[in-house]
Amino acid sequence: MHSSPKRLPPKIHLVLSGLAAFIIFSIWSFIGSGFSFEKLFSSPEYLMDFLRRAFPPFDEHRITWDAFLRYLDALLETVQMAFAGTILGIIFGFALSLMASKNLLFSSSLTKPLQVFAKALIAFFRTVPDLVWAIVFVVVVGLGAFAGTLAIMVDTIGFCGRFFAEEMEEVDKSPAEALECCGATKVDAVFASVIPAAMPGLIATSLFAFEKAVRSSVILGIVGAGGIGLQLQSLFNFFSYDRAMVIIGMIFVLVIGIERLSNYARSQIMNN
Protein backbone atom coordinates (compact mmCIF):
# COMPACT_ATOMS: atom_id res chain seq x y z
CA MET A 1 0.00 0.00 0.00
CA HIS A 2 1.35 3.41 -0.93
CA SER A 3 1.64 6.02 1.79
CA SER A 4 -0.04 9.32 1.01
CA PRO A 5 2.33 12.05 -0.17
CA LYS A 6 3.69 14.21 2.63
CA ARG A 7 2.65 17.81 2.87
CA LEU A 8 5.26 20.31 1.80
CA PRO A 9 7.16 21.50 4.89
CA PRO A 10 5.81 24.93 5.79
CA LYS A 11 8.38 27.66 5.33
CA ILE A 12 7.66 29.14 8.75
CA HIS A 13 10.38 31.78 8.64
CA LEU A 14 8.93 33.20 5.42
CA VAL A 15 5.38 33.27 6.85
CA LEU A 16 6.55 34.97 10.08
CA SER A 17 8.67 37.61 8.35
CA GLY A 18 5.80 38.34 5.91
CA LEU A 19 3.39 38.76 8.82
CA ALA A 20 5.81 41.04 10.68
CA ALA A 21 6.28 43.19 7.56
CA PHE A 22 2.50 43.44 7.13
CA ILE A 23 1.99 44.57 10.76
CA ILE A 24 4.80 47.16 10.58
CA PHE A 25 3.48 48.53 7.26
CA SER A 26 -0.08 48.76 8.67
CA ILE A 27 1.04 50.68 11.82
CA TRP A 28 3.16 53.02 9.69
CA SER A 29 0.18 53.68 7.37
CA PHE A 30 -2.29 54.38 10.20
CA ILE A 31 0.15 56.84 11.82
CA GLY A 32 0.82 58.55 8.48
CA SER A 33 -2.87 58.85 7.60
CA GLY A 34 -3.63 60.69 10.84
CA PHE A 35 -6.13 58.08 12.04
CA SER A 36 -7.55 59.28 15.35
CA PHE A 37 -10.13 57.58 17.59
CA GLU A 38 -10.37 60.84 19.55
CA LYS A 39 -11.60 62.74 16.48
CA LEU A 40 -13.90 59.88 15.53
CA PHE A 41 -15.63 59.84 18.95
CA SER A 42 -15.84 63.62 19.29
CA SER A 43 -17.56 63.98 15.89
CA PRO A 44 -21.21 63.07 16.73
CA GLU A 45 -21.97 66.72 17.47
CA TYR A 46 -20.92 67.73 13.95
CA LEU A 47 -22.61 64.69 12.47
CA MET A 48 -25.91 65.61 14.13
CA ASP A 49 -25.56 69.15 12.80
CA PHE A 50 -24.96 67.80 9.27
CA LEU A 51 -27.94 65.45 9.48
CA ARG A 52 -30.21 68.18 10.86
CA ARG A 53 -29.38 70.41 7.90
CA ALA A 54 -29.48 67.57 5.38
CA PHE A 55 -32.89 66.06 6.25
CA PRO A 56 -35.49 66.15 4.95
CA PRO A 57 -33.61 66.53 1.68
CA PHE A 58 -36.64 67.37 -0.43
CA ASP A 59 -38.47 70.08 1.48
CA GLU A 60 -40.71 72.05 -0.87
CA HIS A 61 -40.10 75.25 1.09
CA ARG A 62 -36.39 75.01 0.57
CA ILE A 63 -36.02 73.21 -2.78
CA THR A 64 -37.98 74.43 -5.75
CA TRP A 65 -39.01 72.35 -8.72
CA ASP A 66 -36.77 74.60 -10.85
CA ALA A 67 -33.75 73.69 -8.74
CA PHE A 68 -34.55 70.01 -9.10
CA LEU A 69 -34.76 70.36 -12.88
CA ARG A 70 -31.45 72.21 -12.85
CA TYR A 71 -29.85 69.30 -10.98
CA LEU A 72 -31.44 66.84 -13.39
CA ASP A 73 -29.99 68.82 -16.27
CA ALA A 74 -26.54 68.69 -14.67
CA LEU A 75 -26.98 64.95 -14.09
CA LEU A 76 -27.82 64.43 -17.76
CA GLU A 77 -24.76 66.47 -18.70
CA THR A 78 -22.76 64.08 -16.50
CA VAL A 79 -24.13 61.09 -18.41
CA GLN A 80 -23.41 62.82 -21.73
CA MET A 81 -19.82 63.52 -20.64
CA ALA A 82 -19.39 59.91 -19.53
CA PHE A 83 -20.87 58.48 -22.73
CA ALA A 84 -19.04 60.75 -25.17
CA GLY A 85 -15.74 60.28 -23.29
CA THR A 86 -16.20 56.50 -23.21
CA ILE A 87 -16.98 56.30 -26.94
CA LEU A 88 -13.85 58.28 -27.83
CA GLY A 89 -11.80 56.33 -25.29
CA ILE A 90 -12.98 52.98 -26.70
CA ILE A 91 -12.10 54.01 -30.28
CA PHE A 92 -8.59 55.27 -29.46
CA GLY A 93 -8.05 52.57 -26.81
CA PHE A 94 -8.94 49.90 -29.35
CA ALA A 95 -6.49 51.32 -31.92
CA LEU A 96 -3.72 51.47 -29.32
CA SER A 97 -4.49 47.95 -28.05
CA LEU A 98 -4.08 46.57 -31.59
CA MET A 99 -0.61 48.09 -31.63
CA ALA A 100 0.24 47.01 -28.08
CA SER A 101 -0.89 43.35 -28.19
CA LYS A 102 1.82 40.74 -28.27
CA ASN A 103 1.86 38.46 -31.35
CA LEU A 104 -0.71 40.52 -33.21
CA LEU A 105 0.09 43.28 -35.68
CA PHE A 106 3.45 44.56 -34.45
CA SER A 107 5.44 41.49 -33.48
CA SER A 108 8.39 41.61 -35.90
CA SER A 109 11.71 43.09 -34.80
CA LEU A 110 11.10 46.06 -37.12
CA THR A 111 7.74 47.02 -35.61
CA LYS A 112 8.54 46.03 -32.01
CA PRO A 113 9.41 49.65 -30.99
CA LEU A 114 5.87 50.71 -32.01
CA GLN A 115 4.43 48.00 -29.78
CA VAL A 116 6.59 49.12 -26.84
CA PHE A 117 5.58 52.75 -27.45
CA ALA A 118 1.85 51.88 -27.53
CA LYS A 119 2.20 49.85 -24.31
CA ALA A 120 4.01 52.71 -22.58
CA LEU A 121 1.39 55.24 -23.71
CA ILE A 122 -1.43 53.06 -22.38
CA ALA A 123 0.42 52.62 -19.06
CA PHE A 124 0.90 56.40 -18.80
CA PHE A 125 -2.80 57.12 -19.48
CA ARG A 126 -3.82 54.49 -16.96
CA THR A 127 -1.54 55.42 -14.08
CA VAL A 128 -2.33 59.16 -13.97
CA PRO A 129 -5.69 59.51 -12.11
CA ASP A 130 -8.71 60.90 -13.96
CA LEU A 131 -8.98 63.86 -11.56
CA VAL A 132 -5.47 64.94 -12.55
CA TRP A 133 -6.40 64.66 -16.24
CA ALA A 134 -9.49 66.81 -15.51
CA ILE A 135 -7.32 69.53 -13.89
CA VAL A 136 -5.00 69.45 -16.91
CA PHE A 137 -7.88 69.73 -19.41
CA VAL A 138 -9.59 72.53 -17.43
CA VAL A 139 -6.34 74.46 -17.91
CA VAL A 140 -6.12 73.52 -21.59
CA VAL A 141 -9.75 73.90 -22.82
CA GLY A 142 -11.32 75.86 -19.96
CA LEU A 143 -14.03 75.09 -17.40
CA GLY A 144 -16.97 72.92 -18.42
CA ALA A 145 -18.14 69.55 -19.69
CA PHE A 146 -15.67 69.39 -22.57
CA ALA A 147 -12.71 69.23 -20.16
CA GLY A 148 -14.48 66.41 -18.29
CA THR A 149 -15.18 64.53 -21.55
CA LEU A 150 -11.51 64.70 -22.51
CA ALA A 151 -10.44 63.53 -19.04
CA ILE A 152 -12.77 60.55 -19.26
CA MET A 153 -11.57 59.82 -22.79
CA VAL A 154 -7.92 59.63 -21.69
CA ASP A 155 -8.79 57.53 -18.64
CA THR A 156 -10.86 55.16 -20.82
CA ILE A 157 -8.02 54.85 -23.36
CA GLY A 158 -5.79 53.61 -20.53
CA PHE A 159 -8.43 51.22 -19.17
CA CYS A 160 -9.66 49.81 -22.49
CA GLY A 161 -6.20 49.81 -24.09
CA ARG A 162 -4.88 47.50 -21.41
CA PHE A 163 -7.83 45.13 -21.16
CA PHE A 164 -8.58 45.01 -24.90
CA ALA A 165 -4.93 44.03 -25.50
CA GLU A 166 -5.17 41.27 -22.87
CA GLU A 167 -8.43 39.97 -24.36
CA MET A 168 -6.88 39.75 -27.82
CA GLU A 169 -3.66 38.18 -26.56
CA GLU A 170 -5.63 35.38 -24.86
CA VAL A 171 -7.54 34.38 -28.01
CA ASP A 172 -6.46 31.12 -29.70
CA LYS A 173 -4.35 32.24 -32.68
CA SER A 174 -4.61 29.05 -34.77
CA PRO A 175 -7.62 30.28 -36.84
CA ALA A 176 -5.68 33.49 -37.61
CA GLU A 177 -2.68 31.40 -38.71
CA ALA A 178 -5.00 29.34 -40.90
CA LEU A 179 -6.16 32.54 -42.62
CA GLU A 180 -2.59 33.70 -43.16
CA CYS A 181 -1.89 30.28 -44.68
CA CYS A 182 -4.52 30.96 -47.36
CA GLY A 183 -3.01 34.29 -48.34
CA ALA A 184 -4.75 36.71 -45.98
CA THR A 185 -2.75 39.64 -44.63
CA LYS A 186 -2.05 40.05 -40.91
CA VAL A 187 -4.70 42.80 -40.76
CA ASP A 188 -7.29 40.49 -42.39
CA ALA A 189 -6.38 37.68 -39.99
CA VAL A 190 -6.78 39.96 -36.96
CA PHE A 191 -10.10 41.49 -38.05
CA ALA A 192 -11.65 38.30 -39.44
CA SER A 193 -10.48 35.96 -36.71
CA VAL A 194 -8.98 37.44 -33.52
CA ILE A 195 -11.48 40.27 -33.02
CA PRO A 196 -14.65 38.15 -33.53
CA ALA A 197 -13.26 35.62 -31.03
CA ALA A 198 -12.45 38.35 -28.49
CA MET A 199 -15.71 40.28 -29.07
CA PRO A 200 -17.62 39.25 -25.89
CA GLY A 201 -14.64 40.30 -23.78
CA LEU A 202 -14.27 43.57 -25.68
CA ILE A 203 -17.95 44.45 -25.18
CA ALA A 204 -17.87 43.50 -21.48
CA THR A 205 -14.78 45.69 -20.97
CA SER A 206 -16.48 48.59 -22.79
CA LEU A 207 -19.51 48.32 -20.50
CA PHE A 208 -17.22 48.32 -17.43
CA ALA A 209 -15.48 51.39 -18.89
CA PHE A 210 -18.84 53.19 -19.18
CA GLU A 211 -19.78 52.31 -15.58
CA LYS A 212 -16.40 53.58 -14.41
CA ALA A 213 -16.80 56.75 -16.50
CA VAL A 214 -20.21 57.54 -14.97
CA ARG A 215 -18.73 57.26 -11.45
CA SER A 216 -15.72 59.40 -12.45
CA SER A 217 -17.77 62.06 -14.23
CA VAL A 218 -19.73 62.70 -11.03
CA ILE A 219 -16.58 63.78 -9.23
CA LEU A 220 -14.86 65.63 -12.10
CA GLY A 221 -17.12 68.69 -11.64
CA ILE A 222 -15.37 69.38 -8.33
CA VAL A 223 -12.32 70.59 -10.26
CA GLY A 224 -14.50 72.53 -12.71
CA ALA A 225 -14.84 69.90 -15.41
CA GLY A 226 -18.64 70.13 -15.76
CA GLY A 227 -21.49 67.90 -14.70
CA ILE A 228 -23.26 67.42 -11.39
CA GLY A 229 -20.04 67.52 -9.33
CA LEU A 230 -19.87 71.28 -9.79
CA GLN A 231 -23.37 71.72 -8.31
CA LEU A 232 -22.55 69.36 -5.46
CA GLN A 233 -19.42 71.25 -4.55
CA SER A 234 -21.08 74.68 -4.56
CA LEU A 235 -23.93 73.37 -2.36
CA PHE A 236 -21.42 72.01 0.17
CA ASN A 237 -19.55 75.32 0.08
CA PHE A 238 -22.81 77.14 1.04
CA PHE A 239 -23.72 74.50 3.67
CA SER A 240 -26.90 73.58 1.72
CA TYR A 241 -26.69 69.99 2.84
CA ASP A 242 -30.38 69.28 2.16
CA ARG A 243 -29.97 70.11 -1.51
CA ALA A 244 -26.66 68.24 -1.59
CA MET A 245 -28.51 65.17 -0.27
CA VAL A 246 -30.94 65.42 -3.21
CA ILE A 247 -27.99 65.37 -5.59
CA ILE A 248 -26.34 62.45 -3.73
CA GLY A 249 -29.62 60.55 -4.00
CA MET A 250 -29.83 61.28 -7.74
CA ILE A 251 -26.22 60.11 -8.23
CA PHE A 252 -27.01 56.92 -6.30
CA VAL A 253 -30.01 56.16 -8.53
CA LEU A 254 -28.01 56.92 -11.69
CA VAL A 255 -24.97 54.80 -10.77
CA ILE A 256 -27.06 51.85 -9.59
CA GLY A 257 -29.25 52.10 -12.72
CA ILE A 258 -26.25 52.14 -15.06
CA GLU A 259 -24.65 49.22 -13.19
CA ARG A 260 -27.83 47.12 -13.39
CA LEU A 261 -28.26 47.86 -17.08
CA SER A 262 -24.64 47.10 -17.83
CA ASN A 263 -24.75 43.85 -15.80
CA TYR A 264 -27.84 42.76 -17.73
CA ALA A 265 -26.25 43.57 -21.11
CA ARG A 266 -23.04 41.80 -20.11
CA SER A 267 -24.80 38.63 -19.02
CA GLN A 268 -26.81 38.57 -22.26
CA ILE A 269 -23.63 38.94 -24.34
CA MET A 270 -21.66 36.35 -22.38
CA ASN A 271 -24.49 33.80 -22.62
CA ASN A 272 -24.74 34.19 -26.40
Binding site: P175, L179, C181, C182, A184, A197
Partner: protein, 261 residues
Protein backbone atom coordinates in the same frame (compact mmCIF):
# COMPACT_ATOMS: atom_id res chain seq x y z
CA UNK B 1 -9.05 18.44 -65.96
CA UNK B 2 -7.01 21.58 -65.30
CA UNK B 3 -4.19 22.04 -67.86
CA UNK B 4 -0.72 21.91 -66.36
CA UNK B 5 1.52 24.88 -67.15
CA UNK B 6 4.13 23.84 -69.69
CA UNK B 7 7.16 25.13 -67.76
CA UNK B 8 6.75 22.89 -64.74
CA UNK B 9 5.31 19.48 -64.13
CA UNK B 10 6.29 19.05 -60.52
CA UNK B 11 4.04 21.09 -58.27
CA UNK B 12 6.45 20.64 -55.37
CA UNK B 13 10.16 20.09 -55.70
CA UNK B 14 12.04 19.91 -52.41
CA UNK B 15 15.78 19.36 -52.46
CA UNK B 16 18.10 18.47 -49.59
CA UNK B 17 15.83 20.13 -47.03
CA UNK B 18 17.07 20.28 -43.45
CA UNK B 19 15.55 21.87 -40.39
CA UNK B 20 16.95 22.02 -36.88
CA UNK B 21 15.69 23.64 -33.72
CA UNK B 22 18.93 24.30 -31.84
CA UNK B 23 20.71 20.96 -31.60
CA UNK B 24 17.52 19.03 -32.36
CA UNK B 25 17.60 17.92 -36.02
CA UNK B 26 14.00 17.48 -37.23
CA UNK B 27 14.57 17.13 -40.99
CA UNK B 28 17.82 16.08 -42.63
CA UNK B 29 18.45 16.05 -46.38
CA UNK B 30 14.84 15.47 -47.43
CA UNK B 31 14.08 15.29 -51.17
CA UNK B 32 10.48 15.25 -52.32
CA UNK B 33 8.89 15.69 -55.73
CA UNK B 34 5.12 15.88 -56.14
CA UNK B 35 3.60 15.96 -59.62
CA UNK B 36 0.43 17.74 -60.64
CA UNK B 37 -2.72 15.82 -59.70
CA UNK B 38 -0.87 13.39 -57.41
CA UNK B 39 -2.11 12.34 -54.00
CA UNK B 40 0.89 11.81 -51.71
CA UNK B 41 0.74 10.56 -48.17
CA UNK B 42 3.52 11.29 -45.70
CA UNK B 43 3.70 8.78 -42.87
CA UNK B 44 6.02 8.38 -39.93
CA UNK B 45 5.99 8.12 -36.15
CA UNK B 46 5.55 11.11 -33.83
CA UNK B 47 8.48 13.51 -34.17
CA UNK B 48 9.55 12.06 -37.54
CA UNK B 49 9.19 15.52 -39.11
CA UNK B 50 5.90 15.20 -41.08
CA UNK B 51 4.32 18.41 -39.83
CA UNK B 52 7.62 20.29 -40.02
CA UNK B 53 7.94 19.28 -43.67
CA UNK B 54 4.50 20.77 -44.42
CA UNK B 55 5.31 23.91 -42.40
CA UNK B 56 8.53 24.33 -44.37
CA UNK B 57 6.72 23.84 -47.69
CA UNK B 58 4.35 26.67 -46.71
CA UNK B 59 7.23 28.68 -45.27
CA UNK B 60 5.44 28.89 -41.95
CA UNK B 61 8.82 27.90 -40.57
CA UNK B 62 12.11 28.72 -42.27
CA UNK B 63 14.26 25.71 -43.21
CA UNK B 64 17.89 25.57 -42.07
CA UNK B 65 19.09 24.60 -45.55
CA UNK B 66 17.87 23.25 -48.90
CA UNK B 67 15.53 24.54 -51.57
CA UNK B 68 11.74 24.43 -51.84
CA UNK B 69 10.08 25.00 -55.19
CA UNK B 70 6.31 25.31 -55.28
CA UNK B 71 4.58 25.93 -58.65
CA UNK B 72 8.05 26.23 -60.18
CA UNK B 73 9.30 29.08 -57.96
CA UNK B 74 11.73 28.93 -55.08
CA UNK B 75 9.56 30.14 -52.23
CA UNK B 76 12.61 30.97 -50.10
CA UNK B 77 13.37 33.88 -52.44
CA UNK B 78 9.83 35.28 -52.59
CA UNK B 79 8.89 38.68 -51.18
CA UNK B 80 6.15 38.87 -48.54
CA UNK B 81 3.48 39.82 -51.07
CA UNK B 82 4.63 37.20 -53.62
CA UNK B 83 4.53 34.55 -50.88
CA UNK B 84 0.99 35.62 -49.93
CA UNK B 85 0.01 35.37 -53.58
CA UNK B 86 1.45 31.85 -53.81
CA UNK B 87 -0.34 30.84 -50.62
CA UNK B 88 -3.71 31.85 -52.08
CA UNK B 89 -3.37 28.90 -54.45
CA UNK B 90 -2.54 26.43 -51.66
CA UNK B 91 -5.31 25.10 -49.43
CA UNK B 92 -4.35 23.93 -45.97
CA UNK B 93 -6.43 21.64 -43.77
CA UNK B 94 -5.22 21.24 -40.20
CA UNK B 95 -5.78 18.44 -37.71
CA UNK B 96 -7.66 20.92 -35.53
CA UNK B 97 -9.90 22.50 -38.19
CA UNK B 98 -8.94 26.06 -36.98
CA UNK B 99 -12.29 27.69 -37.68
CA UNK B 100 -13.25 31.01 -36.07
CA UNK B 101 -15.62 29.70 -33.38
CA UNK B 102 -18.03 32.62 -32.96
CA UNK B 103 -18.60 33.22 -36.67
CA UNK B 104 -21.05 31.45 -38.96
CA UNK B 105 -20.07 28.47 -41.08
CA UNK B 106 -20.61 30.65 -44.17
CA UNK B 107 -18.25 33.39 -42.87
CA UNK B 108 -15.59 30.76 -42.22
CA UNK B 109 -15.87 29.42 -45.76
CA UNK B 110 -15.81 32.96 -47.19
CA UNK B 111 -12.49 33.54 -45.36
CA UNK B 112 -10.94 31.26 -47.98
CA UNK B 113 -11.48 34.01 -50.58
CA UNK B 114 -9.69 36.79 -48.65
CA UNK B 115 -6.30 36.10 -50.22
CA UNK B 116 -7.71 36.16 -53.77
CA UNK B 117 -9.65 39.38 -53.04
CA UNK B 118 -6.39 41.04 -51.95
CA UNK B 119 -4.63 39.86 -55.11
CA UNK B 120 -7.34 41.14 -57.43
CA UNK B 121 -7.17 44.72 -56.16
CA UNK B 122 -4.48 47.26 -55.45
CA UNK B 123 -6.65 49.07 -52.90
CA UNK B 124 -5.59 48.32 -49.31
CA UNK B 125 -8.11 46.39 -47.20
CA UNK B 126 -10.04 45.42 -50.34
CA UNK B 127 -10.84 42.07 -48.72
CA UNK B 128 -12.52 43.63 -45.68
CA UNK B 129 -15.99 42.88 -47.03
CA UNK B 130 -15.15 39.19 -46.77
CA UNK B 131 -14.37 39.32 -43.03
CA UNK B 132 -17.97 38.31 -42.28
CA UNK B 133 -20.68 36.81 -44.50
CA UNK B 134 -23.15 39.68 -43.93
CA UNK B 135 -20.95 42.15 -45.83
CA UNK B 136 -19.43 39.76 -48.40
CA UNK B 137 -20.27 40.39 -52.09
CA UNK B 138 -23.17 38.34 -53.43
CA UNK B 139 -20.93 36.43 -55.90
CA UNK B 140 -18.59 35.40 -53.06
CA UNK B 141 -21.49 34.22 -50.91
CA UNK B 142 -22.86 32.17 -53.82
CA UNK B 143 -19.44 30.61 -54.37
CA UNK B 144 -19.16 29.80 -50.64
CA UNK B 145 -22.60 28.16 -50.68
CA UNK B 146 -21.45 26.09 -53.63
CA UNK B 147 -18.37 24.94 -51.68
CA UNK B 148 -20.59 24.04 -48.71
CA UNK B 149 -22.82 22.04 -51.06
CA UNK B 150 -19.79 20.06 -52.22
CA UNK B 151 -19.05 19.00 -48.62
CA UNK B 152 -22.81 18.43 -48.04
CA UNK B 153 -23.19 21.12 -45.38
CA UNK B 154 -25.32 23.70 -47.20
CA UNK B 155 -28.02 23.48 -44.50
CA UNK B 156 -25.51 24.55 -41.84
CA UNK B 157 -24.45 27.80 -43.54
CA UNK B 158 -25.84 30.15 -40.90
CA UNK B 159 -25.03 28.00 -37.87
CA UNK B 160 -22.18 29.07 -35.61
CA UNK B 161 -18.95 27.17 -36.27
CA UNK B 162 -18.59 26.17 -32.59
CA UNK B 163 -21.96 24.37 -32.71
CA UNK B 164 -20.68 21.75 -35.20
CA UNK B 165 -19.30 18.28 -34.52
CA UNK B 166 -15.62 17.49 -35.20
CA UNK B 167 -16.39 15.84 -38.56
CA UNK B 168 -18.64 18.70 -39.69
CA UNK B 169 -16.01 21.27 -38.65
CA UNK B 170 -13.38 19.46 -40.69
CA UNK B 171 -15.72 19.47 -43.71
CA UNK B 172 -16.13 23.25 -43.29
CA UNK B 173 -12.33 23.55 -43.21
CA UNK B 174 -12.25 21.60 -46.50
CA UNK B 175 -14.89 23.94 -47.96
CA UNK B 176 -12.74 26.92 -46.88
CA UNK B 177 -9.79 25.37 -48.71
CA UNK B 178 -11.96 24.75 -51.82
CA UNK B 179 -13.03 28.40 -51.74
CA UNK B 180 -9.44 29.27 -52.62
CA UNK B 181 -9.77 27.25 -55.87
CA UNK B 182 -6.45 25.68 -54.93
CA UNK B 183 -4.05 23.80 -57.19
CA UNK B 184 -2.54 22.10 -54.16
CA UNK B 185 -3.86 21.12 -50.75
CA UNK B 186 -1.75 20.27 -47.72
CA UNK B 187 -3.61 18.34 -45.03
CA UNK B 188 -1.91 17.71 -41.70
CA UNK B 189 -3.54 14.59 -40.22
CA UNK B 190 -7.02 15.73 -41.32
CA UNK B 191 -8.84 12.77 -39.79
CA UNK B 192 -6.69 12.20 -36.70
CA UNK B 193 -9.02 13.94 -34.24
CA UNK B 194 -12.15 12.24 -35.61
CA UNK B 195 -13.82 8.92 -34.81
CA UNK B 196 -13.24 6.21 -37.49
CA UNK B 197 -16.62 6.72 -39.23
CA UNK B 198 -16.43 10.53 -39.36
CA UNK B 199 -12.76 10.25 -40.32
CA UNK B 200 -13.58 7.98 -43.24
CA UNK B 201 -16.45 10.23 -44.37
CA UNK B 202 -14.16 13.28 -44.29
CA UNK B 203 -11.37 11.48 -46.17
CA UNK B 204 -13.83 10.18 -48.81
CA UNK B 205 -15.20 13.67 -49.48
CA UNK B 206 -11.72 15.15 -49.45
CA UNK B 207 -10.22 12.59 -51.80
CA UNK B 208 -13.16 12.61 -54.26
CA UNK B 209 -13.09 16.42 -54.52
CA UNK B 210 -9.34 16.46 -55.12
CA UNK B 211 -9.63 13.83 -57.84
CA UNK B 212 -12.64 15.53 -59.51
CA UNK B 213 -10.90 18.90 -59.64
CA UNK B 214 -7.37 17.62 -60.26
CA UNK B 215 -6.08 19.16 -57.05
CA UNK B 216 -2.69 17.89 -55.93
CA UNK B 217 -3.00 16.52 -52.41
CA UNK B 218 -0.26 16.05 -49.81
CA UNK B 219 -1.49 14.66 -46.51
CA UNK B 220 0.17 13.33 -43.40
CA UNK B 221 -1.33 10.38 -41.58
CA UNK B 222 -0.65 7.80 -38.92
CA UNK B 223 -3.20 5.48 -40.45
CA UNK B 224 -1.44 3.16 -42.94
CA UNK B 225 -4.74 1.86 -44.34
CA UNK B 226 -5.79 5.43 -45.08
CA UNK B 227 -2.44 6.12 -46.75
CA UNK B 228 -2.81 3.04 -48.98
CA UNK B 229 -6.46 3.78 -49.81
CA UNK B 230 -6.24 7.47 -50.66
CA UNK B 231 -2.68 8.12 -51.85
CA UNK B 232 -1.01 7.37 -55.18
CA UNK B 233 2.37 7.47 -53.50
CA UNK B 234 3.58 7.07 -49.93
CA UNK B 235 6.60 8.81 -48.45
CA UNK B 236 7.80 7.59 -45.05
CA UNK B 237 9.92 9.72 -42.76
CA UNK B 238 12.14 8.23 -40.09
CA UNK B 239 14.15 10.47 -37.77
CA UNK B 240 13.90 13.34 -40.23
CA UNK B 241 15.01 11.35 -43.31
CA UNK B 242 13.04 9.82 -46.17
CA UNK B 243 13.14 6.08 -45.48
CA UNK B 244 10.65 4.98 -48.14
CA UNK B 245 9.10 6.51 -51.23
CA UNK B 246 7.06 4.31 -53.53
CA UNK B 247 3.82 3.95 -55.44
CA UNK B 248 0.93 2.70 -53.34
CA UNK B 249 0.19 -0.24 -55.64
CA UNK B 250 3.66 -1.62 -54.89
CA UNK B 251 3.18 -1.43 -51.11
CA UNK B 252 1.17 -3.23 -48.48
CA UNK B 253 0.30 -2.37 -44.90
CA UNK B 254 3.16 -4.50 -43.50
CA UNK B 255 5.67 -2.45 -45.51
CA UNK B 256 4.27 0.74 -44.04
CA UNK B 257 3.94 -0.60 -40.49
CA UNK B 258 7.61 -1.59 -40.55
CA UNK B 259 8.41 2.14 -40.96
CA UNK B 260 7.04 2.71 -37.46
CA UNK B 261 9.36 0.11 -35.93
Amino acid sequence: MRPVKWFYVSIININNLSKSYGSNVVLSGVDLKVDSGDAVSIIGSNGAGKSTLIKCALLLTKPSSGTIEVFGQNILNLSHSALRKTRTEIGVVFQKHNLVPRLSVLSNVIHGSIGAANNSSLIPFSAMRSWIHATAPESVRRQAMDCLKRVKLEDFALKRADSLSGGQSQRVAIARALMQKPKLIFADEPAASLDPISGKAVMDIFFDLCKQENITLVFTSHNVEQALQYADRVVALKQGKVSLCDLTNKLNSEDLLSEYA
